[in-house]
Amino acid sequence: MNKQVLLCTQNLTKQYPGVLALNGVNFDLAPGEVHVLFGENGAGKSTLISMLAGANHPTDGSIEFNGETVQFSNVADAQDIGIYTVFQEFSLIPTLTVAENIFLGWEPMIGPFVDHRKMRKRSTEMLHELGFDIEPTEIVAHLSRAQQQMIEITKAFHGDLSVLILDEPTASLTDKEVDHLFDFIKELKSRGVGIIYISHRIQEFARIADRITILRDGVKIGTVSMNEADDSTLIKMMTGREISEIYPTIKHNPGNETLRVEGLRTAGIFDASFSVRAGEVLGVAGLVGSGKSRLFRSVMGLTTRVSGSVHLNCKDISHASTADIIRSGLYYLSPDRKAEGLDLAKSSNDNLAVNLVMGEKNTNNSQFINWKAIAQRTQEISDHVEIAQQNRNKIVSQLSGGNQQKVLFGRCFGQDVDVFIFDEPTVGVDIGTRAALYRLIKELADAGKAVIVISSDLPEAMNLAHRLLVLAHGHITADLSGDEINEQQVLKYFFDESGEKI
């Protein structure tokens, strides 16, 4: 390893209200190196890169670029010196064309006017050079997520690029597209560009990584070079414990069939049929864009169904409204707690109370609320999901991701539910909270509820589930159980259809 340092951070720290997101991290990147950031959701990877990208400001510590301390007041500052970041959340304008997006803020001009012809021509060249097969005149909203990702990467190639930061770039790409991306990363390496690469997929590291830095709960655990790292050490460094300590063993006592979906069709879902039994945990895995979330949102009546039937405890709820579906005993926990899970400006108690007020059993169906009874139940639920006493009257936006997720879990105990659908139940949650949430899932299954866990985190889906549905491109490609649930098998079905259908 040469001692040349392109970019480094000294004691970089970021304090959010109530959360220390990043705590004194020293990180360095050499030219021509691929440096992987590895860690759980909420470990601080995104916080670290957001500061390197100029999107966020450190509370303490400094960033050095080519040996000089730099301060970014915004993303454009970082881009000016050649640090370009491809975020997970795309920065594309959906209503503009591909070419307009690529040249947003850099439009070639003829006098005071935008030179559209030159823009299209340059875009075509750039896309071609990167091997992406996309028309520059296409409207971005019409593209697939993978294609949008490609545009996002293409945008990075203005001016002189010296550091490229990629945040989970392969999350929505097919195998072939991933190969393409990796070739292209190698090409950049040979040009001396330093690459910071965030990914959950250990199997990718051997192909591209030079060094790996592991973060956990905002602290740097260590940096290892690729040739001395193996999977189990990495996982142990990431989680701080053995896998067996995180996931509880859930006994499989399948009861009666509670939820039955037949021939469900909706936008992006083709003919999905499956069923769940009481006391069973059904895992649902698939890539981003495979339709795993969409399938269940359509079951909940959140998107319109084209055809197919949904039965809950033998009751037909194919055409019921979301409110009626929830009242019949099907609960959906949203993957996005901020956008559709919680009322951020209210306290934890207030959030829990809404579901209690709506749950019939606590109000005797009267239009008037017995606040005393509600307060009592709120307390019981808070104890059950382990919300700390001092957090119960705090505004939810001030709580950490893990505590917010506990409140979100608490909400589903307010209503009478037979089938729980947990969509990405541990996204952005620290490892301690994850273990607590898994225990709740175990308790529910033990109590004879059916639990569906939709997860992009494959170990999570595999370790919790008695049965595992795999989705690819809107089709259910596998319904695995028992020993069939192993990584090779599951990954095979992830990509199974990617080349063939659609």
Binding site: P17, G18, M300, L302, S321, T322, A323, I326, R327, Y332, S334, A339, E340, G341, L342, D343, L344, A345, K346, A353, V354, N355, V357, M358, G359, T363, Q367, F368, I369, W371, K394, I395, S397, Q398, R411, G414, Q415
Partner: protein, 336 residues
């Protein structure tokens, strides 16, 4: 507020007060000081009772406006509901009084019912547009307010409807029970009902939940469309009640009643700490907010500020209140 508050520094206390109730106590204090200095007649018992009586109409409309603001929208058509109620109920009363000259109270009741019905229709149109067609509340209620104002003028030809039964104005405009003006009694009853509704009923809680996060509310088994619809209809109903009281006060049906009340009621709510983002607001504060606006108008009258200048100041006050609301929201979200 709590005994264990860490610092008792005066600044810390003011900050806490600001976070808890918003900008209203500060505005109220400043207004009292300024107008007392400007006019010796301002801070007298007689004048304050007068302000309380005058503020009945704005307080009522503000409570309806608050409901819609909490649900996450706003209603620019409250003035139109007032005007339409006034015109329709006046026309109705005159018509039925001609039909049943012996049963004057029946005529009044039928006319009032017609007025309420018209306003509920306005509220329903707003609700359907906002909830089911997802038109932005701004455009929807702005459009409806033009439609309604046009209809009110069309129905009357721009001429006030006169010849209302005397009993109507004598009772609801100038009547007193136990020496308390009837409009004040009606307002007090409405405030109590509203308070119970917002804090003790499931529907009230649902309105808060929908305004706080409509998607989360949807995923908690709340029928969000119905909730929005009901908010707009209750708002229109309260505006309609106000319209009847004003009609009784002026003793004629007029199409230009309530022309400035949309702005005033929104200002009253925002000053009283109702969040424009929805989900936050309290009945008792809004009552005080309505009172405050009328107090300022009264103070400006006594200080001989011209009515044109009053419009300028009221607009500025609204913008200032919204700016403070932004600060407060940021402070709430980021912790003490």
């Amino acid at each position: 507020m709590t005994p264990e508050s860490k610092q008792i520094s005066p600044f810390g206390l003011l900050r806490k007060l600001f976070i808890k109730v918003g900008v209203l106590p500060f505005f109220l204090f400043i207004a009292l000081v300024v107008f007392t200095l400007l006019s010796p007649r301002f801070l007298t018992g007689q004048n304050l009772v007068n302000v309380a009586r005058q503020s009945v109409y704005l307080v009522l409309v503000s409570m309806g406006q608050m409901l819609v603001l909490i649900s996450g929208g706003f209603d620019l058509s409250v003035g139109t509901s007032i005007a339409l109620t006034s015109v329709v109920s006046a026309l109705g009363m005159v018509f039925f009084a001609g039909m049943f000259p012996d049963m004057i109270w029946l005529a009044i009741a039928l006319g009032a019912l017609l007025g309420f019905g018209t306003a509920l229709l306005v509220g329903m149109v707003n609700g359907v547009g906002v909830a089911y067609f997802e038109v932005s509340p701004f455009i929807m209620t702005l459009g409806v307010s033009s439609v309604g104002a046009g209809l009110a003028l069309f129905l009357t030809g721009g001429v006030p409807v006169s010849g209302l039964p005397f009993a109507f104005g004598d009772t609801f405009g100038f009547g007193r029970v136990w020496n308390v003006p009837v409009p004040v009694i009606i307002a007090i009853i409405s405030i109590i009902v509203m308070w119970v509704f917002m804090s003790r009923t499931r529907l009230g809680t649902q309105i808060y939940a929908v305004g706080g996060n409509i998607k989360a509310a949807h995923l908690s088994a709340i029928n969000t469309k119905r909730t929005l619809m009901i908010s707009y209809m209750i708002c229109a109903f309260i505006a309609s009640l106000t319209g009847l009281l004003l009609t009784a006060r002026v003793e004629s049906g007029e199409a230009n009643l309530g022309s400035s009340i949309a702005l005033e009621s929104i200002a009253a709510c925002v000053i009283a700490g109702v969040s424009l983002r929805g989900g936050i607001g309290r009945v008792e504060n809004v009552v005080l907010g309505g009172f405050f606006i009328v107090l300022v108008q009264n103070g400006m009258n006594l200080a001989q500020v011209s009515s044109y200048m009053q419009m300028v100041l009221l607009g500025l006050l609204l913008i200032l209140a919204v700016i403070f609301d932004q600060f407060r929201y940021r402070m709430i979200m980021s912790g003490e």
